[in-house]
Symmetry: C2
Subunit: 597 residues, 2 copies
């Protein structure tokens, strides 16, 4: 696997004097995650994420011991306020400082109550980079955090450096309800309306579908103003269509906001449908790849660990952009102490732990592993605090045992959770090994857990893992069994039994959500049933293409009528029509059909 950023790392030695904004490591991601997770809107109501959101630390300091071979001029800037101390003398930021040759102690104190405290130092041998250390007034000084997005002094890290593109609608239709504009495909953009007059209302209704935009009463996003302005710029929102109500002559355009990411390769085969599926997947994925990997671009635009786990895998076969994966991992985890599961979901905590180790496998970024390892451990300690007397992870307080939107028997300890728990313990043990950290006491727990899972959840009569043993129902679903095969939890004998009794058993209800279909198809690819994977891609994703999708949907059921197609969670337009996990053909085709299909 190519590591895009390898060349960047390689340059470091030779180009260490290139200044960049530096901050307390992880805080950039935590700060932007707070903003991202509080931007969701639904019918003019702001709806922040329903889990604990951390903020960056607002008072930090940086230090460096610099050696100047000759007299040197330096200038230091802060995103925030404070002072720059050289050898015990304080200077304000932004002042040119002339220093004699020799050794100098730099200490930069930066606070920023409403933003991310950061530092930018110019001057040979003094430039702010990873040779500086950061501290938030705890015992430890750590290597300062930075990001290659921030080399420009005038581009402070409070603002995420998106790119912008002006676009115009491809068609306009005067209807009884108003004027309907179609932008040809789903975009994430701010609409700009120029009006001829200043009287009357200006109302705008957004739709991922034409149907939604025309449904003034129920559409998910709209904005109404009593007073037309000459030029009104609306908030960034996701849509393909907009319906505008106004009595004025108007001119409509949009400014698309996006994060530039280049695919490392293009997929091309002699099957047009597959080419089209790849293309739409790529577009869908790009719309959801921004500060972080988001779930969907209309709704929720939050960062979900299960969704992100799949996005990391898609990323490996599309952008191989390790930075967006890293940013997402840091954003999801936030700060200690851990007060709730990631996104409140037990399985999502485990996917987070597993994703760190898998990130390492993908990019061999040992520095990151070292940075994040203590947070893997503290999250694991939180999970261990949520085990029962037998050591199984269970639901406590408001924990959400998710697994999938499916009829899973969730009484007591749930099998699929235990398998993820075991994989997470293993991920930490393997990470500790890579870092040369002493056994952290989890091995015994892992071994016991594996034994206990087999004792309590393996049902030899059914030749499968059951969902729950405490309910007595002995329900078999595909979920835990897919995990058992996908993650090599089951031994060869059990694996063969599972394939026969569960995977190839039509009596066992099918996986219907594209979220879990990802795991199912990954598992099918892994056991060599590539034709099945391909058929699924052609049928399921091909079905959406046939229905005119320009981006892939959160869920798809061929039997649904148009009304049902847009509804979800009891909301007529609750379904996301541009959902990151809809892009899984990239991973599946990339991983299992690298030589074409």
């Amino acid at each position: 696997m190519t590591d895009n950023y390898g060349k960047f790392n390689a340059q470091e030695g030779s180009n260490s004097q290139r200044a960049r904004w530096i901050w307390y490591p992880g805080d950039f991601e935590i700060y932007h995650a707070l903003k991202v997770n509080t931007r969701r809107e639904e019918r003019n109501i702001m709806w922040p994420a329903f889990w604990r959101l951390d903020d960056c630390c607002h008072n930090v300091r940086f230090r460096k011991k610099a050696v100047f071979e000759k007299e040197t001029r330096i200038c230091v800037y802060a995103n925030g306020n404070g002072y720059f101390d050289v050898d015990g003398k304080k200077y304000p930021y932004g002042e040119m400082i002339q220093l004699p040759e020799g050794e100098h102690d730099f200490l930069a104190v930066v606070f920023h109550l409403e933003g991310l405290p950061a530092l930018y130092a110019e001057g040979a041998d003094a430039a702010s980079d990873s040779s500086w250390e950061a501290n938030m007034y705890s015992d430890e000084w750590v290597q300062a955090g930075f990001n290659e997005l921030y080399f420009d002094k005038n581009r402070t890290p409070d603002i995420f450096p998106f790119s912008y593109k002006d676009i115009v609608p491809i068609s306009k239709e005067r209807l009884e309800e108003g004027i309907l504009y179609d932008f040809g495909k789903e975009i994430f953009a701010s609409v700009l309306i120029r009006s001829s007059g200043k009287e009357g209302v200006l109302n705008i209704y957004y739709g991922e579908s034409r149907t939604e935009a025309l449904d003034k009463e129920h559409c998910y996003l709209y904005e109404k103003t009593d007073h037309v302005q000459e030029e009104k710029v609306f908030r960034n929102r996701a849509f393909r269509y907009i319906l505008v109500e106004t009595s004025n002559e108007i001119e409509v355009s949009a400014k698309e906001e996006y994060f530039p990411l280049e695919p490392v390769k293009r997929f091309q085969c002699n099957d047009d449908l597959l080419n089209r599926i790849w293309e739409i997947s790529e577009y869908t994925f790009h719309l959801n790849s921004r500060e972080f990997f988001l779930d969907g671009i209309k709704r929720d635009r939050w960062i979900w660990s299960g969704d992100a786990y799949q996005a990391y895998k898609i990323n490996q076969y599309l952008y191989q952009d390790k930075d967006i994966s890293r940013r997402t991992i840091l954003a999801l985890r936030g700060k200690d102490p851990v007060e709730c599961h990631i996104n409140t979901i037990t399985d999502y905590s485990f996917f987070w732990i597993m994703s760190v180790y898998e990130y390492y496998l993908g990019y061999e970024d040992k520095e990151f592993l070292k940075l994040i390892y203590p947070k893997m451990k503290s999250l694991m300690e939180f999970c261990i605090g949520r085990t029962d007397a037998e050591g199984f992870i269970v639901k406590k307080c408001n924990d959400w045992i998710f697994i999938d939107w499916a009829d899973i028997d969730k009484e007591g300890a749930v099998c699929a959770e235990q398998i993820l728990f075991a994989k997470s313990l293993e991920a930490i043990l393997l990470s500790a090994e890579i870092l040369g950290i002493e056994e952290c006491g989890y091995r015994e727990r892992l071994e016991k857990l594996c034994r206990d899972i087999d004792t309590h959840f393996w049902d030899e009569n059914q030749g499968a893992y059951i969902s729950s043993f405490s309910s007595g129902k002995k329900q078999v679903t595909r979920h835990a069994n897919i995990f058992a095969v996908l993650y090599d939890f089951a031994d060869v004998d059990k694996k063969n039994k599972i394939i026969k009794n569960v995977i190839h058993n039509e009596q066992i209800p099918q996986i219907v959500t594209p979220y879990f279909k990802f795991f199912e198809l990954d598992m099918m690819g892994k056991i060599g049933e590539c034709q099945y994977v391909l058929d699924q891609i052609r049928n399921y994703w091909g079905g959406m293409v046939e229905k005119g999708a320009t981006t892939f949907w959160e869920t798809y059921d061929p039997g649904e009528d148009e009304k049902e197609r847009y509804a979800m969670y009891g909301d007529p337009y609750g379904k996301s029509l541009c959902h990151a996990w809809g892009a899984s053909p990239i991973y599946l085709l990339g991983r299992y059909f690298r030589r074409g299909c």
Copy 2:
């Protein structure tokens, strides 16, 4: 002791429908502490506190189950954004909601990225008060925090509700350096200058003393502007004098910012000097009693735990305002996890723990004790993490073993720290008892510590506690011995020996800082040597009065000349001339001379 707020608590039952702003408990104080601790300025440089500063949580929620006996209209407001959910239906804030009689579930989601998320609900049986619960997406819902300062919907808790008073200088002097204004006594205010013209510079130099204001080069606070404005309002600063440089005709006034606090009693005796000392103490203390108890009003304006510990005691004999003590205790402690000692000082962590229990003794506020108890424990756990193999608290990393500005042998374990450690363990054990919480495992540690202190630090030959045993120097200073008597650590036999061998021994260096003089005089009062206390007040504080003090100073040495009088920390005007601990005569006179003197 009268509890000012008793009447307020008593009203709660009968007046539960009075709405107030509510927030996550403790977050109001943490949010304002972040602002206060980053406001220090020194010669145009901003100098934030050099310890970890926490911020409030920016995404919280509130809930209440309300029962309406009839149809009711409610309206809910947020300091921030989000939504208000009634029985599963979301409403925007600020919308009048009509609800039928019966039971209703309220859930209010509030986020505020750049301020304190808070809620205000109007409507009988729905009013926001302590019957609501708050949650920051951890497992626990807790009683919402509020403060009687915030009953007004239009006065949001982001802004601290200070009072303001216009004042004019009492004299004006045209000097070669500029125009010198004297406000008669030290004030904390924003200067307003109205100018006749718009040309030339407008420079302002502040002085707690006339000397400082005239020393343009070295004064601590100044501001220079190239362009005179017609009306220029300067930032809040502490000063008695200002020197203004300008070629324009100007008119100068100031707007004093203060927090109204009423003394519960006036001190009056037939000794004019003592009356004057009380009066100046009271004024000094008032200037430093704001959002929290500050150390000094010119410099640092930070919240220091040792200073605050003395302020709580002064407060008990002046305002008996439990709220400012509570606010200060919450502000100092911040959030978990504990990453450094309070103010980085080991003794200050212990004073914080002791202050919580002493606060309870003073105000019998069991609810507060319950709220803060987990933070007493987590701070103690942090301290225990900083003990050596023998269980003594020692310096780790950048910990500051302070005790006093004095020549104390600080090698290895330091006696004075161990005594405070023991008192803190005792404070937690007593608090746990009051709360009916099971023994938290500290009793054994306390008993061992007490034995070990006596074994290692008590020197029978000198009849005193020595500062350090590991240095071998067997140094005796007054500090640990004062603590041993003041806090009843020494038994009667040892106490008598200490009084003879240390307290009444002129060979042992005297206490010279007013900070530690507080403990010394408190101890002298406690052992009945009131005449000594009175003589010290007359000499020491009387000495400052004689030198023309309008507020009491950080330190005072009768032998110092004028230049020395203003200098401290190597800075010609580094000394604070209005320092909270300078007000200790209030405590000493109040506590030991209640029937007059």
